[in-house]
Point group: C2
Chain length 192, copies 2
């Protein structure tokens, strides 16, 4: 595929939006756990992508498709920020992020747009096994990071709500391996 | 595949090493560009993975394989840090990182190890088209970030060496689209 000048500039604009995700801090840690300089959304997405790649292979899911879903799942936050549930209703958040994501995807070459829009919609509809797996991995990665912050000395009681909500979420789902790893994280009391 | 207790704990140890990459700062920006709190290696890997996914699809390379290579390409730095060429010779760096990477990969379930070891070796040998593409993407992502730091107001003269070395590298390679995007980054003078 040969790209015209304006397609190239649009693609560059897409990459800048991706790059900007490094500067968006995961706001839950700031507002609820008093961590002043927490991980970025890009940090979280990296770790979640690697974990998803490995676990998807172990349980025979489509790791390539899942990695793509993980990479884009929080990309809208590059334009709209990482809102807390207290700032904004989940319906409003969904609308704002959907609008941002459509704008972001429109910067890709025409032939790629439909696939990424489908992956984004699949993630949000949360009906397919792949989408459910990615939502579970989002929670699992959060538990892992919460535990790391606990090891670093941040107050346990300010991290517990994150661990509790993720534990409840993962416990209600069907991914046995994800559940077992979450248990191992919760049971483990020493660092690497 | 069913994992035994010790395999589960090894996998958790692998995930912690991945998670720790969020805390490793890209040292080049600190030492050469006086940026006190730069992106993490995880940030860089996230952005590079997304860019690689999109460009690999446009030029019909195997995006799944390439994404895996990108995710692991700097993972050894979680254990050994991001050394500058002045700290350590490139041969020594290669040895240290190879040893660390073998340790990291040994934490994966047996059935996955060989594949990731092959991908790691393929990246280092830098002979295949996929490996060459990933090395190019490493440079392209660095140029994009350098330009972002320039827009943020960091001194141009301290960022120029990164842009120059990456430009030289990419100019000598065969990926026309990567070269064109690098040109677009260098020519562009306004932010998103």
């Amino acid at each position: 595929m040969k790209l015209e000048k304006n397609q190239l500039l649009n693609l560059l604009s897409f990459f800048r939006i991706v790059c900007n995700l490094k500067t968006i801090k995961r706001s839950g840690w700031i507002h609820k756990s008093k961590i002043t300089s927490p991980e970025s959304v890009a940090d979280h997405s990296y770790s979640m992508c690697m974990m998803s790649m490995i676990l998807a292979e172990i349980i025979n899911l489509d790791s390539g498709h899942i990695m793509k879903m993980v990479l884009i799942h929080d990309l809208a936050e590059s334009l709209v920020g990482d809102h807390m549930p207290d700032d904004i209703s989940s319906e409003k958040k969904q609308l704002v992020e959907d609008k941002a994501m459509k704008k972001i995807i429109s910067k890709l070459p025409n032939s790629l747009r439909k696939n990424y829009l489908n992956i984004w919609n699949e993630y949000n509809d949360n009906i397919t096994v792949n989408a459910k797996f990615v939502h579970n991995m989002d929670k699992l990665e959060m538990v892992l990071q919460a535990k790391e912050y606990e090891f670093e000395g941040y107050p346990k009681e300010l991290l517990q709500p994150f661990i509790k909500s993720a534990t409840d979420y993962i416990s209600n789902e069907r991914f046995d391996l994800v559940f077992k790893i979450m248990q191992a994280i919760n049971d483990d009391s020493k660092r690497i």
